[in-house]
Amino acid sequence: MEILTNIGINHYLTISALLFGFGLFAVMTRKNAIVILMGVELILNAANINFLAFSKFNGGMEGVMFSLFVIVLAAAEAAIALAIVINIFKLFKSVDVSTIDTMKE
């Protein structure tokens, strides 16, 4: 099992791509704004895996630092996004994004 013994950067990138695909899929298909936010978290984490993978195979610490920044940003983003969702819910009595299309006008 050469693959299992020699875990290279491709493995990391494959995992990250899958995770990004799932996140994007969730953002595009789900109707619930909370689940969309969860998809966004998946996308952010896919990016974190990429940072860490490149950091590991490049030998520097910049990737680690960036991933830490992304985690902090994700926390802040989640707080703001949830606040927006709560306000949307207050306004529309719903968090279903397919019904919220007043921007069209």
Partner: protein, 768 residues
């Protein structure tokens, strides 16, 4: 300024003052202001008589002449014309002085007479105002020293004549007559103006004396024919104003005016203005122009005399007689009998004014009956009128012992002399027509006197349905018994009688000359000598070239000086007529004074003067015979009734009708000029309606078409472009709006697709 000039300015302006006062204030003045007119004219006459006395009687100098002028308008140097300076001026010589006295005297008498004749007329005051402006204009003509100012006053008398002929403008006949007079005068005036322009174009002056001096100096650059043309054109003014053939038609119709007007304007003064004007320009008339003038005068005299024979209206007979006598004057000027023509002008003015005022008295007394067929027997009712009318008639007929005899005889002697000097042939027609007209004059005046004054009253013979009476009737004439029989006839009041007496007295020979057979011995012809021509006849041309120009001009100004010197010899000549006839031309050329006490440098004038003098006795005999013949014929026909006039008229019916219908001149003019004008105006009207209107309408239609075309362009192309732009963006907006769903996930999908598209593009680029 000479004191006489100052006086003459006062004489000129006083009648104008009368006009201004009366035209504006006649209704506010007592008696409608007639005393203003009469008073002012009386003063004017007094001043004129003083001028006459100072000039003619005291100075007694044939070459007396004072002049004064001022620049009225100075146009500077007009491009294409040259220096244009219009001057106004006054000249007083013997002719002016005599005319002044004559015009103001007759005007004054007519004013006085009108206070009786026009009494009760609704426009009484206005009548005197018109008389005032007429007198002003006429005096302007008399006093003018240049062609321009005489033309102004010429038109002014035309205007006054127009106003006075149409004084009873309610009547169509009067309104038509005034228009006819004005238009006929206009035809002549156009010619006169062209003549003035010909002279002005050569000399750049309007002044008589300057023009004559320039002509004498030979400064006329154009051919002789142009000078003749100028003379004939200027004479056209006279043809119009003095009613000469072929423009005579207006004068008889002008009798529609009130009778005092006929006396003042259409017999004595205004119609004589034409003759006066020709006399003023006499010296510049060439021999050819004078021939034309002589023939026109002779034809006029004869034609009018033949017409006068058959007219029924008392004023029309006198009107045609006026035309005939004016023809004599023009004939006289044409044949070179200058003094005689002017003499006749003055004597005619007095006796014809007397005749017209007398006929006015008759018409007044007959309650506006003018037809002589219904008169008769007025002698015993109107003794004063009868006496004065008869004296004037004898003067008009030219019986010895009257003024008319002397002047007419002098003209006829001139005509014989002219025909002899010109070498006979066709030129004998002129004295022949003159003598024949003299006989006709005696005949028709005899007829008139008889029909009006003698016999029984024929008022009752008038057909009841004949409404021709009252040609001169004015609306509210306050006569009771307007339709009464002739027993209502009465002599007129003193204010109408006095002018008749004065005028009749002035028709006696003694006023003018001590010798009843020879006017040349009188003061008049001595004071008005025939001037020396400045153009010369064909044979005199060489002499003009040799003699110095200045000498010639000096001769013009001092021409009459020898006249006094030779005066003494004149009487001697008359006593020896037989020996006089033996005198050849050599005797005259050697400086021997001829019958007129006058020497002419021009051989043609000298020959005519010589022959005229020789013909003097012959003329006396022939004209006396003619007058006696005419009067006897009238007596035979109307008194002794040897020949019945009505039956004679039937026998020579075509001739009678020819005369009765005035030679058909009115009909001829109707058929030619009036119909012609109507045809021309119809053609022009057609042209206007079709061509000019067509152009305008075409332009309108074209504009409308263009308007519709541009309107269509605007509607379909410009609007279409705008609308299409709007439509395009509307449609594309509607399509693109679909992309904008407002749903977040749609945008995410689009974003993903865009990224994928980018990647696909990027990788395909990598592959190739």
């Amino acid at each position: 300024m000479h004191s006489l000039i100052q006086l003459s300015i006062a004489v000129l302006l006083l009648p104008l003052l009368s006009f201004v006062i009366l035209i504006f204030f006649n209704k506010r003045l007592p008696r409608r202001g007639d005393f203003v007119g009469v008073g002012i004219l009386g003063a004017t006459f007094a001043l004129s008589f003083y001028i006459f006395w100072s000039v003619v009687v005291q100075a007694y100098d044939p070459s007396f002449r004072i002049a004064w002028d001022f620049t009225w308008i100075d146009f500077g140097n007009v491009p294409g014309v040259g220096p244009l300076q219009i001057k106004m001026g006054i000249v007083i010589d013997n002719l002016t002085a005599i005319m002044l006295a004559m015009v103001t005297l007759i005007s004054f008498l007519v004013h006085l007479y009108s206070t009786g004749y026009m009494a009760g007329d609704p426009r009484y005051g206005r009548f005197f105002a018109y008389l005032g402006i007429f007198t002003f204009s006429m005096l302007g003509i008399v006093l003018s020293d240049n062609l321009f100012s005489i033309y102004i006053f010429w038109e002014l008398v035309g205007l006054s004549s127009y106003l006075l002929i149409g004084f009873y403008f309610e009547k169509d006949s009067a309104a038509d007559a005034q228009k006819k007079a004005f238009l006929a005068n206009r035809v002549g005036d156009i010619g006169m103006w062209l003549g003035i322009l010909i002279l002005y174009s050569q000399f750049h002056t309007f002044n008589y004396q300057e023009i004559f001096r320039n002509l004498a100096d030979g400064k006329f650059d154009m051919s002789e024919a142009w000078l003749t043309a100028a003379g004939i054109l200027l004479f056209m003014g006279c043809v119009g104003k003095s009613a000469q053939f072929p423009l005579h038609v207006w004068l008889p119709d002008a009798m529609e005016g009130p009778t005092p007007v006929s006396a003042l304007i259409h017999a004595a003064t205004m119609v004589a203005a034409g003759v006066y004007f020709v006399a003023r320009i006499f010296v510049l008339l060439t021999a050819d122009a004078l021939h034309v003038i002589a023939f026109i005068g002779a034809i006029t005299a004869f034609m009018a005399a033949t017409i006068a024979i058959t007219q029924h209206d008392i004023k029309r007979v006198l009107a045609y007689s006026t035309v005939s006598q004016l023809g004599y004057m023009v004939l006289g000027l044409g044949v070179g009998a200058y003094s005689a023509a002017l003499f006749h002008l003055v004597t005619h003015a007095f006796f014809k004014a007397c005749l017209f005022l007398g006929s006015g008295a008759i018409i007044h007394a007959m309650h506006h009956e003018q037809d002589m067929r219904w008169m008769g027997g007025l002698k015993k009712h109107m003794p004063w009128t009868f006496a004065t009318f008869t004296i004037a008639t004898l003067a008009l007929a030219g019986l010895p012992l009257t003024s008319g005899f002397m002047s007419k005889d002098a003209i006829l002697a001139g005509a014989i002399g002219f025909a002899n000097a010109e070498g006979g042939g066709i030129y004998y027609l002129i004295p022949f027509l003159g003598f024949f007209s003299a006989m006709l004059t005696a005949f028709y005046m005899g007829r008139q006197i008889w029909l009006v004054f003698f016999g029984e009253s024929r008022t009752h013979l008038k057909p009841a349905d004949d409404h021709h009476h009252g040609h001169d009737a004015h609306g509210s004439h306050g006569h009771d018994g307007h339709h009464e029989e002739a027993h209502g006839v009465h002599e007129v009041a003193w204010n109408m009688r006095a002018p008749l007496v004065v005028l009749a007295a002035l028709s006696i020979f003694a006023v003018y000359s001590p010798d009843p057979l020879d006017g040349a011995k009188g003061w008049f012809m001595k004071m008005i000598p025939t001037p020396e021509t400045v153009v010369g006849s064909a044979s005199g041309e060489t002499e003009h070239q040799t003699s110095s120009a200045n000498q010639n001009a000096a001769h013009l100004l001092a021409e009459a000086v020898p006249a006094g010197a030779h005066r003494a010899e004149t009487d001697a000549h008359h006593e020896g007529v037989a020996s006089e006839t033996l005198h050849g031309d050599d005797a005259h050329a050697s400086g021997h004074g001829d019958g007129h006490g006058h020497e002419f440098a021009d051989p043609r004038q000298a020959a005519i003067a010589h022959d005229a003098h020789e013909a003097h006795n012959l003329a006396i005999v022939i004209s006396s015979v003619m007058v006696v013949l005419g009067i006897s014929l009238a007596l035979i026909v109307y008194v002794f009734r040897v020949i019945d006039p009505d039956r004679t008229a039937q026998v020579i019916r075509p001739l009678y009708l020819f005369s009765f219908n005035k030679w058909y001149w009115d009909e001829i003019y109707q058929a030619t000029f009036i119909k012609g004008s109507i045809v021309i105006s119809k053609v022009l009207s057609w042209f206007d309606a079709n061509v000019v209107d067509g152009l305008v309408n075409g332009a309108g239609a074209l504009t409308r078409r263009v308007g519709f075309a541009t309107g269509g362009f605007d509607k379909y192309v410009v609007d279409g472009a705008v609308n299409f732009t709007a439509f395009f963006f509307n449609t594309s907006g509607a399509v693109l709006k679909k992309l904008q769903t407002g749903k977040v996930q749609t945008y995410v999908v689009l974003l993903m697709l865009a990224v994928m598209g980018y990647f696909i593009y990027y990788f395909t680029q990598l592959i190739y």
